[in-house]
């Protein structure tokens, strides 16, 4: 089975976000970059499918050269090849610009299954998976928490959550699946030391937009359908109150009940 995984590099989730001087982007000076956690789940899911079907896993990303490190991480986990689309014209693109580049790479690979995160935990847009599927005319299934493939590798079965329960779906191939769930479900494997050594020798191609036959006017800031005009920090919370430390446990419990009644008004 031929599997493609779309990964994005995002700021470490530990990052304290600060707004840049232009008022509509974030300060990136001190950021540590990591693979988007949901994309890490996608790599793990791809490797499990590869193990079952003796397939091949290709990692695809767009961004500057720093992204190579995240692709190498995926290769060290066990993926086979990487493709990075690095083109300055892509910078400042919206969903469509990025999805165009990703779709062009995917198309050349002609995979049976395309996996990606359901959202990148930076701008939390959750749109690129569906956009890539749409551009390729493929069906997609969102928020997967379990993926299984039949023995002949002709169909996938996917579980996804619905509010208050879960749904099982079946799809013929090719299909794009976005990964949901949490770390505890996918438990993405760590890169082993031999894995890291091997990853250095695995093929990793860098492409530009012209390699993919995309005109730079189709992407970038000027082609955006939607754009950020300003950013703001959440409203400061009033400094919290510690409920009187002199009270005994029962006294504190009574005081909290009073708060819930009189201030929060839920009792």
């Amino acid at each position: 089975m031929n599997i493609a995984v779309l990964i994005k590099q995002v700021p470490d989730t530990e990052t304290v976000i600060k707004i840049a001087d232009d008022g509509k982007s974030i300060k990136t000076d001190d950021i540590k970059w990591i693979m988007n956690p949901y994309d890490e789940y996608a790599v793990e899911a791809a490797l499990r499918l590869k193990e079952k079907t003796r397939g091949k896993v290709t990692i695809i990303s767009t961004g500057p050269q720093r992204v190579v490190e995240s692709i190498r991480t995926a290769l060290a986990m066990g993926a086979d090849e990487g493709v990075l689309v690095d083109d300055p014209a892509l910078e400042g693109s919206d969903v469509f610009g990025v999805a165009k580049a990703l779709a062009a790479v995917v198309k050349e690979l002609n995979p049976d299954v395309i996996l990606c995160g359901h959202r990148a935990v930076d701008y939390d847009e959750g749109q690129r998976g569906a956009a890539v599927a749409e551009m390729l005319g493929l069906p997609h299934i969102p928020f997967a928490v379990a993926i299984d493939v039949d023995d002949g590798a002709t169909k996938v079965k996917v579980d996804r959550p619905v509010e208050g329960g879960k749904m099982s779906l079946e799809a013929s191939l090719p299909v794009l699946i976005t990964l949901g769930g949490a770390h505890a479900i996918w438990n993405p494997r760590y890169a082993s030391l031999p894995g890291i050594m091997k990853a250095k020798k695995k093929p990793l191609a860098t492409k530009t937009l012209s390699d993919l036959g995309i005109d730079s006017s189709e992407v970038g800031p000027d082609a955006r359908k939607i754009r950020i005009i300003s950013m703001e920090m959440p409203p400061e919370r009033e400094p919290g109150k510690i409920i009187n430390g002199d009270l005994d446990t029962e006294g504190k419990a009574k005081e909290l009940v009073r708060v819930l009644k009189e201030e929060v008004k839920i009792l």
Binding site: I17, G126, A131, G164, I229, M233
Partner: protein
């Protein structure tokens, strides 16, 4: 009839999900500010004349596509039906719920119509005859205001559940219903095999008014019974930190935070949770935050409106008794 605001509702298991009324109410406010009409599109199965109720929230017309094949959402079945209807309506603005299905539908629909989508919005304003949308970024560590290019129509935005107020504008009103025959594709490559709902109609965290969450301080899965009892009394849903989920004490769907659910309840009670930055991002927009932790220096207290420095195993049972008394 071009222009106007159109809301997409969520109809499941014989009724509208609550978030549909929130979206309709916000749709009405936006339509009023733009000086235009509000219509709704209802997809599902067994809708009958139930869509009339949307009139209460200001919907003048509801376009209803009632079909067994639309009983359960898949993008593959829904998007062609909706895009056909929207091509006819040509609305300027489309609002839909940022529920699980709504998030997915919005993304595919926007790609299909080649227009912009603002995901999971928490506020709208109307300026110069168009809308601007505010949405959380980095799970709420900051916010961004968005505008659409003039070539991007309709302007599509999904609305975060539990944020927009439900407002009945006319108790007696009923929306005019137009039934359409939905253009469901004859061959679908994605099939729904089964849907399982949890017993007792568990409230989803993203839609809960009150959440009681437990962390590593709970020490083990059995102790969550304590939080479940308290939650029951408060009409709350139970959440968890990643540490509690990673330990296998709680299901993954309970995880609150940057890589779990981002929640905005009226009240969030954090019990035995330290308040790591990823957790704070996911619940920091709650209206009221209460923290119970035995460590007075726990970072959660910096976000809490009310902090209780106590051993949770001592405090929670006594507090639960007091709540019982208060409820009589």
């Amino acid at each position: 009839m071009a222009g106007g605001v159109c809301v997409l509702t969520e109809f499941q298991d014989g009724d509208f999900r609550k978030v549909s009324y929130e979206v309709a109410s916000e749709g009405k406010r936006v339509a009023d500010a733009l000086g235009c009409d509000l219509c709704a599109v209802v997809l599902g199965s067994g809708i009958g004349d139930k869509a009339g109720v949307l009139g209460k929230y200001g919907v003048s017309r509801a376009i209803v596509a009632d079909d067994e094949r639309l009983a359960n959402y898949t993008a593959e079945a829904y998007v062609p039906v909706l895009s056909e209807i929207l091509k006819e309506l040509e609305p300027d603005v489309v609002l839909l719920p940022a529920s699980l299905n709504g998030k997915d539908l919005g993304a595919r629909l926007a790609a299909h119509l080649q227009t912009g989508l603002a995901m999971d919005c928490t506020e709208f304003k109307v300026e110069d005859g168009t809308i601007k949308a505010k949405r959380p970024l980095f799970a709420g560590k900051c916010f961004g205001w968005y505008e659409w290019d003039s070539s991007a129509r309709p302007q599509i935005a999904s609305c975060r559940p539990n944020v927009f107020e439900r407002t009945v504008v006319d108790e007696g009103a009923s929306a005019e219903i137009s039934a359409v025959t939905p253009a469901v594709p004859s061959e679908l490559k994605v099939q729904v095999v089964s849907v399982e709902k949890e017993e007792g109609g568990k409230i989803d965290l993203t839609e809960a008014e009150v959440i009681v969450s437990g962390g590593r301080g709970m020490k083990g899965p059995e102790n969550f019974k304590m939080l479940e009892e308290l939650a029951q009394l408060l009409g709350a849903a139970v959440g968890a930190s990643r540490a509690a989920v990673d330990a296998g004490w709680r299901p993954h769907s309970d995880q609150v935070g940057q890589t779990g659910k981002v929640v905005t309840p009226n009240l969030y009670i954090a019990v035995g949770i330290s308040g790591a930055i990823q957790h704070l991002a996911g619940m920091g927009s709650s209206k009221y935050i209460v923290a119970v932790n035995k460590d007075p220096d726990a970072p959660i207290f910096s976000k809490a409106d009310y902090g209780i420095v106590e051993d949770l195993f001592k405090f929670i049972p006594i507090f639960t008794e007091e709540v019982k008394k208060a409820k009589g």
